[in-house]
C-alpha cells in the first residue's frame, strides 16, 4: 500500500501543496472571522437570545397572584387571553390602532417624502436631516409635547376657546384620539425614511416624459408617480404598524390609563399584578402578531418585486 501510494503522492505533490496552502489560508481566515464575530455573537446571545428564550419558557409556567411562579409546563396562561373577551378587545384595539396610525402616518409622510425625493435644492440634505432629527429625541419628550398641545388647557383647546369656536374643551387626551395623533407624529420620520429609500425607481425623468407626452398633472401622478411609489408606501405602512402595536410610552402617557393596548397590559400585569407567566404569554401573542405581519410583508414585496 505505502509502496504503491508513494509515487502517486510524489507525482501529485505540486498540486497538493497548493491545495494545502489554500486550505491553510482558508483555515486561518476562518479562525480570524470567527474571532472577530464571536464577541458580538456572545453579546447578543446574553442580551437578546437568552432573555427571549427565557420569556417564552416562562409563558408556559403557572403564576400565582402574589408573584410566585410555579414551574410547570402548561398552556393555561394562553387560555385566558385567548378566551376572555377583555383580552380579545385589547388585542383588537392594538391591531386597530396599528392600522389607523399606519394609514394616517403614511398619508401625512407621503407629501414630505415626495418633496424630499424630488428636491434639487442645495438645502435638501438639511431638510432631510430636519425631517428625521426628531428620531433622536426621546419619545418621552415628544409625547410630553403632545400632552401640552392636546391637553385640556393645551394649545389647541385654548386657541379654539380664544377664537370662540368651542365652550367646553375638547377631550383630546386620555383617549385613543390623543394616542393616535401622538403616534402618527412620532413615527413620521420612520415613514419618511422608508419612503425615500423605497422611491428608488421613481425618477423625475419619467414624470417629465409623461408630462411632455401630454399627460395632465393629475394623470402623471395617478399613472406614474403613485404606482412607482407603492412599494415605498407599503414598506412605510408596515414599519409604522409594527412600531405602533408594540409601543408603550405614548399609549401610557397620552392614554392616561384609559387606553389599554397589549404593551400597557403587559406592563400592568408585570408591575401591578406580578403575574409574570401571564405577561410573558401576552408578549408571545404580540410577537406572533408581529411575525405574521412581517411574513405578509415579505410575500407582498416578493409579489411586487416579481
Amino acid at each position: 500500500m505505502t509502496l504503491l501510494q508513494t509515487p502517486v503522492a510524489a507525482e501529485k505533490r505540486p498540486d497538493q501543496d497548493e491545495g494545502l496552502l489554500e486550505k491553510a489560508t482558508e483555515r486561518r481566515n476562518r479562525r480570524t472571522y470567527l474571532a472577530l464575530l464571536l464577541p458580538g455573537l456572545l453579546g447578543l446571545l446574553v442580551s437578546f437570545v437568552f432573555p427571549l428564550a427565557y420569556m417564552i419558557r416562562m409563558s408556559f409556567n403557572k403564576g400565582a397572584p402574589d408573584g410566585v411562579i410555579v414551574e410547570t409546563f402548561t398552556l393555561d396562561t394562553y387560555i385566558q387571553p385567548l378566551t376572555d373577551p377583555y383580552y380579545w378587545r385589547v388585542t383588537l384595539d392594538t391591531f386597530q390602532m396599528g392600522v389607523t396610525v399606519g394609514i394616517l402616518c403614511v398619508l401625512v409622510s407621503y407629501p414630505v417624502a415626495l418633496f424630499l425625493a424630488r428636491s434639487t435644492s442645495k438645502y435638501r440634505g438639511l431638510l432631510i436631516a430636519i425631517a428625521i432629527a426628531p428620531l433622536l429625541t426621546s419619545a418621552v419628550v415628544r409625547t410630553y409635547g403632545w400632552m401640552v398641545i392636546l391637553g385640556t388647557n393645551g394649545l389647541i383647546n385654548s386657541s379654539l376657546e380664544g377664537l370662540g369656536l368651542i365652550d367646553t374643551p375638547l377631550k383630546l387626551t386620555n383617549n385613543m384620539t390623543g394616542v393616535t395623533i401622538g403616534l402618527v407624529e412620532i413615527f413620521m420620520p420612520y415613514a419618511i425614511l422608508a419612503m425615500i429609500s423605497g422611491f428608488g425607481r421613481l425618477s423625475p425623468q419619467l414624470e417629465e416624459a409623461a408630462g411632455s407626452l401630454g399627460a395632465s398633472k393629475f394623470k402623471v401622478f395617478t399613472r406614474v408617480t403613485l404606482p412607482l411609489s407603492l412599494p415605498g408606501l407599503l414598506t412605510a405602512f408596515l414599519l409604522v404598524f409594527v412600531l405602533a402595536i408594540s409601543t408603550f410610552i405614548t399609549p401610557r402617557l397620552l392614554g392616561g390609563g384609559s387606553v389599554q393596548v397589549l404593551a400597557t397590559e403587559i406592563y400592568d400585569q408585570t408591575t401591578g399584578l406580578l403575574n409574570w407567566p401571564f405577561a410573558a404569554a401576552l408578549s408571545v401573542i404580540l410577537l406572533v402578531l408581529f411575525g405574521l405581519i412581517i411574513a405578509v410583508y415579505q410575500r407582498l414585496t416578493k409579489k411586487i418585486g416579481g
Partner: protein
Amino acid sequence: MSDVRIFKPRFNPAKPAFGLLVFLLYLFLLAPLLIVCVVSFASNQYLSFPPEGLTLKWYEMLPQESTFMEGMKVSLIVAVIVTLIVLALGVPAALALDRFDFKAKAAVQSFFLSPLLIPSIVLALGMVLLFGPLGLTNTYAGIIIGHVAITIPFVIRTTLMSLATTDTSCEAAARVLGADSWTVFRRVTLPIIQPGVIAGGVIAFIVSFDEAVISLFVAESGLPTLPVQVLRYVENSADAAVAALSVILILISLAVVVVVERVMGLRKALR
C-alpha cells in the same frame, strides 16, 4: 403643447399649494418640540397655554431637582459604557461580515440586526425575567447588558455601510509592504471606516441615553435612568420643569445630529 410650456411657463397653483402642504406637515412634525421650547419659558404655575409671562425659573429649578440629576448621572454612565462595549463588539463583527465569505453570512448579518425587529417591551420583559434570578435587576450591569442588544444593530449597520465603500487595495498594499494584520487594521482600515464607526457610536449613545422601556423594567426601583425619571415626573406633576429639561435634551440631540450629519449623513446612518 409642450413648446408652449417650455417657452411660457404659466403660473401653476399646484406648486405653491404643495409647498404650503409640505411646510404645514413639517410644522406638525416639529410641533411637540417647538411647543416644549415655548412652555419651558412660560411663567404659568401649571402646565397650560398660552404663556402668561416669560421666566427662567424652570431652568433654575433643574439643578435642585435631585431626581433629574440622579437620572442624568445614571443615564450618562450607562450610555458611555454601552457605547464602548457595543463598538468593541460591533466593529470587529462588521469587519468579519464584510471581508470574509461563509455560508451562514446572510443569516448572521440578519441576526445582528434582528433586535430592531423585536418589540422593546417584549425584550424588556424577557430581560427582567432572566436578570431577576441572576441578581442583575437594578444594577448597572443589568441595564448595560439590556441596552447592548438594542444598540448593536446601529453600529453594525453604519460600520458595514462604511466598509462597503472602502477600497481594499490600500490594505493589500500595506500588507505587501510588511504590515501585520493589527497594524493594517489600526493604520489603514480604521481611518477609512472612521465615519461609520463614529456615527454608529453616536447613535448607540443616543439610543441608550433615550431608552425608556428596558430601563423601566430592569431598573425602575433601584437605578432609574433619566427617561424613567422624566416619565414618572410627567405622570405625577403638572408643572413645566420637564419642559426645561427637555429643551436641554433637545439641544444635546441637535448637536449630535450635526455631528452625525457631518461625518456620514444622518439618513445613511439611520437606515
